[in-house]
Symmetry: C2
Subunit: 349 residues, 2 copies
C-alpha cells in the first residue's frame, strides 16, 4: 500500500493529551471562545496548527450537534442540466455570493430520488432552497417531513416561503408589444410546457398546471394578450421544447417558420431559444425585425451581446439567487416575494 506517515491519528482526545489539557478545553477552543482565556485559546489553536490538527471531525460534530452548516440547493433533474442553463448559473452565482460570505456551504443536489439511494443525501442540509418545481414528489415529501427551513423558487410550496418572478406580467408586456408592432400571425416557442415536449406542436391535453409551471404562466399571458388584441394564437402556432438548447430551438423555429401563413413574430420562452430562432431566420433569409419579430425571455448576457441585440424580458436571476440565500438563512425576516420583470425592447422587434 501507499507509505503513510506513521503519525498517530489526531482527535480532540489525543490532541488534549499532547497539549496536557482536557478534551473539553480543546473543544471549547474551537467552538466557544468565551469559555476560556484568549491566551490559552490562542496557544491551543497555534499548537494544533503546528501538529496538524485542523479542527473537529465534521461527521462526529454533526452527529453530536445534529446540524451540519450546509444549505442544500435542490435543482430540477441532474446537476448537468443546470450547468447548461444561463439562468440557473446566474441564480447559483447569486446564492453562492451570499452563502460564501456567511461561511455556509452549499450542497448542490439533483432533483431525482434515484441519486439518493446510497447516501441519504437529503438529510445532510440544515436548510433548503428548492429551485424550480421538483419532478420527484416523493423526494420533496421526504424533505418536507424533516421540518427544516425551505425556500421554494419559481414555484409555490404550501406552508413555505416562496420566491418568484412576475412571469405573467413580463410575458404579457412582451406579447402586447408584439401585437402592437406586427400584423401577421404570432407563434410561440415554449419551454417545457408539457412533460413530453420534443420540439413539436403542443398537445392541449397534457400541459403542466400553471400553479406549478412558470412556462404555463407565460403562455397564459401570451394567450390573454392575443385575445385582447383580437388575434388569437391557435394551438397550431404553439411549439414546445424540452430544454433551452440551441438544437431544440433550431428545430422548433424551423417548424414554426415553415407554417403557412408564416408567423411575423415569435414569442420565445428563453433567450437561448430566441437566439436559435434568429439563426434560423438568417438561414431562411428573413429580415429581422422587418419581416419577423423575435422576443426572448430572461435577458441573459447572450441576448445583449448578440448582434442584433435581442428584445427580451429581463428577470433578475442574480438578485433572485442572492435573495433566496438571504431568505433561507433568515426565514423569519421575510415574506414570500415576487420580483418584477421588465420588457427590454432592442433590435429584434
Amino acid at each position: 500500500m501507499s507509505p503513510k506517515p506513521p503519525k498517530k491519528k489526531l482527535t480532540v482526545k489525543s490532541v488534549a493529551s499532547i497539549l496536557g489539557v482536557s478534551t473539553a478545553t480543546v473543544s471549547n477552543a474551537f467552538n466557544r471562545p468565551d469559555q476560556l482565556s484568549s491566551v490559552l485559546r490562542n496557544k491551543i489553536l497555534d499548537e494544533c496548527e503546528r501538529i496538524g490538527y485542523h479542527g473537529p471531525n465534521p461527521a462526529a460534530r454533526s452527529l453530536r450537534t445534529g446540524s451540519t452548516g450546509v444549505v442544500g440547493i435542490m435543482l430540477a433533474e441532474k446537476l448537468a442540466y443546470n450547468f447548461s442553463d444561463p439562468c440557473a448559473i446566474e441564480f447559483l452565482e447569486g446564492v453562492s455570493q451570499i452563502l460564501d460570505d456567511a461561511r455556509v456551504n452549499m450542497l448542490l443536489m439533483p432533483g431525482r430520488e434515484e441519486f439518493y439511494k446510497k447516501t441519504s443525501l437529503e438529510s445532510i442540509p440544515d436548510r433548503y432552497i428548492i429551485y424550480g418545481p421538483p419532478k420527484d414528489l416523493p423526494l420533496l415529501d421526504r424533505i418536507e417531513r424533516q421540518h427544516k427551513p425551505i425556500i421554494s423558487v419559481d414555484f409555490n410550496l404550501e406552508n413555505h416561503l416562496s420566491l418568484n418572478i412576475d412571469n405573467y406580467g413580463g410575458a404579457k408586456a412582451a406579447a402586447n408589444h408584439v401585437f402592437e408592432t406586427t400584423s401577421g400571425p404570432v407563434a410561440v416557442i415554449g419551454l417545457r410546457l408539457s412533460k413530453d415536449a420534443d420540439g413539436e406542436r403542443i398537445n392541449a391535453t397534457d400541459l403542466y398546471d400553471p400553479n406549478y409551471s412558470i412556462s404555463r404562466q407565460r403562455l397564459n399571458a401570451y394567450l390573454d394578450a392575443s385575445k385582447e388584441a383580437n388575434r388569437p394564437i391557435g394551438f397550431d402556432y404553439i411549439w414546445d421544447t424540452s430544454k433551452s438548447s440551441w438544437d431544440e430551438g433550431v428545430k422548433a423555429a424551423r417548424c414554426a417558420l415553415s407554417v403557412s401563413p408564416r408567423p411575423t413574430a415569435l414569442l420565445c420562452m428563453s433567450d437561448n431559444l430566441a437566439l436559435a430562432a434568429l439563426s434560423v431566420a438568417r438561414e431562411m433569409g428573413l429580415h429581422v425585425p422587418q419581416e419577423l419579430s423575435i422576443v426572448g425571455f430572461d435577458d441573459t448576457p447572450a441576448a445583449s451581446v448578440n448582434h442584433p441585440e435581442v428584445t427580451t424580458v429581463y428577470q433578475p436571476s442574480l438578485e433572485k439567487g442572492r435573495l433566496a440565500a438571504k431568505m433561507v438563512l433568515n426565514p423569519e425576516n421575510y415574506d414570500s416575494i415576487v420580483l418584477p420583470t421588465e420588457l427590454k425592447i432592442r433590435e429584434t422587434s
Copy 2:
C-alpha cells in the same frame, strides 16, 4: 414553536424494535443485501418507507465508516467566480455527468481557506478534483496531508495524477496562423498572467510560473511563434486581465487598439475576451478580419454562435470534466493525461 408531529425519533434502533428485528438486520437491509433473505429485506425496506425512516443518518454512518461518498471539487477562488466562466461550467457539467451516474455526490468548494474556518469542509470528501492551481497553498497542503486520491486539473501536482490540455500546442497553432495571415503588429490580450492583472500592460517581473499557469504556457507559445516568424511581440503589446469578463475584455481591447502602430491581430486568451475585443473593433469601425484578426481560446458555444464566428482554439472542456471524474473514481486505472487542442479557423481571422 412550530407544531411538530409528536413522532418518536427514528433510528436503526427504534426501527428495529418496531419491526421486531435486531439493529444489525435493519442496517444490513440498507447496506448489505447479501446478508439477509431478499424477502426479509424487502419487508424491512417497505416497512421503513411506511413509517418514514429513510435510511441511516449520514453523519453517524460516516463517523462509523470513515467515508462519506462525496467527491470534493476544489475551485479557484469563490464559487461565484466559476459560475461566470463558461469553461468551468462545461467542466462541471462533465464532472457531474459521471458522478451523477456513479451515484456519488459532488461538493463544490471555494479555493480559499477563509471559507473553511467554521466547518472543516475540507475533511468531508473522500477524494478530490482540484480545478486550477489553488491560490491558497496552506489549504492545498492540508488536503494533501489527508492522503486521499487527488486529481489536479490544468496544473501539475507532484505525486498526483494530473489532467491538462495542450495549451502550448493550441496557442502555437493560433499564433502561427495569425503570423501567416497578417503582416502588421500582433498584440496579446492575456488572462491572469500575473497576480495583479488589471487590464493594463504586463510587467515582466511578476508573471506566474509557466509550470503552474496555463496562461503562461499560452504566452510562451505566442512568443515562440513570434520569434520564429521574426516578428517579435514586445511587452508593450501584451495586456493582461484578471478575469474573462466582458468589461475587462473591453477595457484591454480599447487600450490595445489605441497603440500606434495599431495591431493587425489580437491573440486573446479566452473567447469572452475575443468577443469583447470584437465589439470594440466594431465600435471603432475596424473591419474584421480585413483590418484586424481576432483569435480566441476555448471554443465555448458563444464563439461559434456569434456572427461573425470567432476563430479560436478548441479545448474539450466537457470531456475534461468527464475524464477528471472517471480518474478520481478510479485513479489506479489512469496515468496523467494531456488532452489535445485544435485551432478552429472561422470568420474573424
